[in-house]
Assembly symmetry: C2
Homo-oligomer: 418 residues x 2
């Protein structure tokens, strides 16, 4: 056996398990998608459910798909997927489009943070009255963040991404990310100050806000001015596939800058897509039969995006749903999470826009809510974590349900729009 072992080493590399994982994930995504197409539901719902099933087979003693929850490479590939998805969405949208709906998007975002925040605070007061009021406040904060990946995917699949409703939701999601950062910074700051007995560091909160707003402003204004020169410069390059490579460089560059500014990388990718217009790259495009960036990145999106939704589904632990002690709490939390975002619709100023469609688009909390809850679980107050295990379980259920109900709701409402 010593030779087999030695020779085996030649080609043993982590890539073998990644390859197998990718094959399984892609096949599961397409089968799940197929079932949903037959049920006239969005495919992404099938991808999520396929992930939930694979991820929970361990409950039946089948441990084969545990890697879905744990594999770092799969996680990065899935994040690349959602980044490219938001880049694609941004490509379908222009800055003037966004400015036209800017007022509505801003109000929708603000209402969509305020309403769930106070509703969540109230639910906390009712269900865990014994906890410190800062715990209730923090619970409210976990309800504020919108996770735009699901909505973006369904809108792309439905070819409704250029509607005013879609633009308002996308714009509001970007603003929401900034507001969510502020809320989290403020609430965490107050908690840390209460714990340490010191004052709240206002400058630190201002810094968070300044950095994230600064990125968006610089990206949209300076970025938009520089992009034509960037494409003029790179069009000097005579290597193959320049258009795809240089657009990816822009997408990944903006996404990482956004991440460094504290924002979600997807916000940066969306911004990159937003400021990119065909006129800027027509010279490069002309070299390849006038291909558009959308066409070039489409196979990348088709490969990577299902990985995102299947692995997202696989992280759902079905055992969380059978905890009788938290089910009522979780369901009420979910209800206010949904209702809270319907208030958003009132923020729409623009005539003729479907307010319900906008509100539904803002429902999913996705991974952002989970990240908030995880941070809460590591923040201590009076020797106790702010988010204890039961509350964390309730937040998980809220995130899962808001994610799963959104695709059918969006499909139902946006299919009515022209």
């Amino acid at each position: 056996m010593v030779f087999a072992g030695t020779a085996g080493e030649v080609n043993t590399s982590p890539v073998i398990s990644v390859l197998l994982a990718l094959a399984v994930v892609l096949l599961a995504a397409k089968i799940g998608g197929d079932i949903m197409v037959r049920l006239r539901q969005p495919e992404v719902l099938g991808e999520l459910i396929a992930g939930i099933i694979l991820g929970n087979l361990a409950l039946l003693g089948i441990d084969t798909f545990r890697f879905l929850r744990e594999d770092l490479v799969l996680e990065i590939l899935s994040e690349l997927g959602v980044i490219l998805l938001l880049f694609e969405v941004g490509l379908h949208t222009t800055i003037p489009d966004m400015l036209r709906v800017g007022g509505s998007a801003f109000l929708v975002a603000v209402l969509g943070v305020i309403a769930p925040f106070f509703l969540g605070w109230g639910v906390g007061t009712y269900f865990i009255p014994q906890a410190d009021s800062l715990v209730h406040v923090y619970l409210g904060a976990t309800l504020t963040a919108t996770s735009v990946g699901i909505t973006a995917r369904v809108l792309i699949d439905l070819k409704r991404v250029t509607t005013d409703e879609a633009k308002i939701v996308l714009g509001a999601a970007v603003i929401d990310d900034v507001l969510g950062l502020m809320v989290l910074a403020t609430v965490s700051g107050v908690i840390s100050a209460a714990e340490a007995g010191g004052g709240v560091e206002v400058e630190a909160i201002a810094q968070v806000l300044g950095l994230s707003l600064g990125f968006l402003l610089v990206a949209v204004t300076l970025g938009r001015m520089v992009v034509p020169y960037y494409f003029r410069l790179v069009s000097i390059l005579r290597s193959e596939g320049i258009l795809l490579a240089t657009s990816l460089v822009m997408c990944f560059g903006f996404a990482s800058l956004a991440g460094m500014a504290g924002l979600a990388p997807i916000v940066g990718a969306f911004t990159a897509g937003l400021i990119l217009e065909p006129v800027q790259y027509q010279e490069l495009s002309a070299r390849h039969d006038d291909v558009s960036i959308e066409e070039l990145i489409s196979p990348l999106v088709n490969f990577l995006v299902p990985i995102f939704f299947v692995t997202m589904g696989s992280r759902v632990n079905l055992l969380d749903f059978v905890r009788g002690d938290i089910l009522a709490f979780a369901l009420v939390l979910t209800l206010v999470a949904i209702v809270g975002k319907q208030v958003c619709g009132l923020g729409v100023l623009k005539q003729g826009v479907d307010r319900i469609a906008v509100g539904l688009g803002m429902i999913p909390r996705g991974e952002v809510g989970l990240i908030f809850a995880s941070i809460g679980a590591s923040l201590m107050l009076h020797g106790q974590p702010i988010i204890d295990s039961a509350t964390y379980g309730a937040v998980v259920i809220m995130v899962v349900i808001t994610t799963l109900v959104t695709p059918p709701l969006i499909k139902w409402r946006f299919s009515r729009l022209a």
Copy 2:
């Protein structure tokens, strides 16, 4: 700062550094490629050199690009790249094509293993006479393996991948991988037996051979029979992007199976491409304006393949080239590595085939030679590693030079072919 830190955590994830790395790598690849296009050299040479430069900036005190050598995600992405590249090459080739050149490919592979093996053995005897003769034998073994990625890439770029010369090189490279495994298993087995004082475990060597040949036989015969049913089955699926997803499932599935059988995953990917023919998937293809798999995977290849060659370049340590003590040894080793593979050309049976083109295509040792050398460095004989630091350095230089000289040589010779 506590708030900034806390809020920052929300979006801090390993993906940010990967995004930045990808942007840098893609840009460097395209700039390197551009310079080579202007010098009328293959682009891949520019990508390798761009990687060498970035990876060695640390010598000038610039540590920024150290991640290129170390990042696991980048490594996996680059392996996915070379796997898709060989899948693409396989798609350009059919089983009857390969059978037509099969005799030549087999003889080329056998001669391409035997000649470098004995030449390397001789060089070892001359330059390190004090070492055990098993060390000389092992050195010969490190010269046997062909790394087909470079050749495949240049042939694709030159659009010469369907020539008989290309098919012989590709077929020989697959056979070479099996032979290389055998040589390594045998030599390591003899060394371990010598060290332990026992006999050589023939069954273990037979197992290595059986597993790898078994994979190839089953893949080509059974796989070819099953593929039409596979595509008929998956064409039931109504989800989007079925053709791309199911071809990737096949490519990744075959690559991981090859890996499990001890072969290089690229051999599996090539085999998957080989047995896949347009007639098998015409029904799926018809759904999307008769698009071919080649067209669908081309953006994936364009995104991932440059990552492979830039990171491969970045792993070259230029300090290895200034070790005066090993330079003569290294250069002679490189020379016999190149000359040894030229003997291959004599194995070409088919009329009208350019023997020099075939020999040149077999030159690069790439990562396979390095893996052999690494295993040698961990095999002990009389308390000493089989491959000591000086010999390892010489192997590295041989790998780098054979990799770098091949693109211009192939371009020169294949450009003359019709």
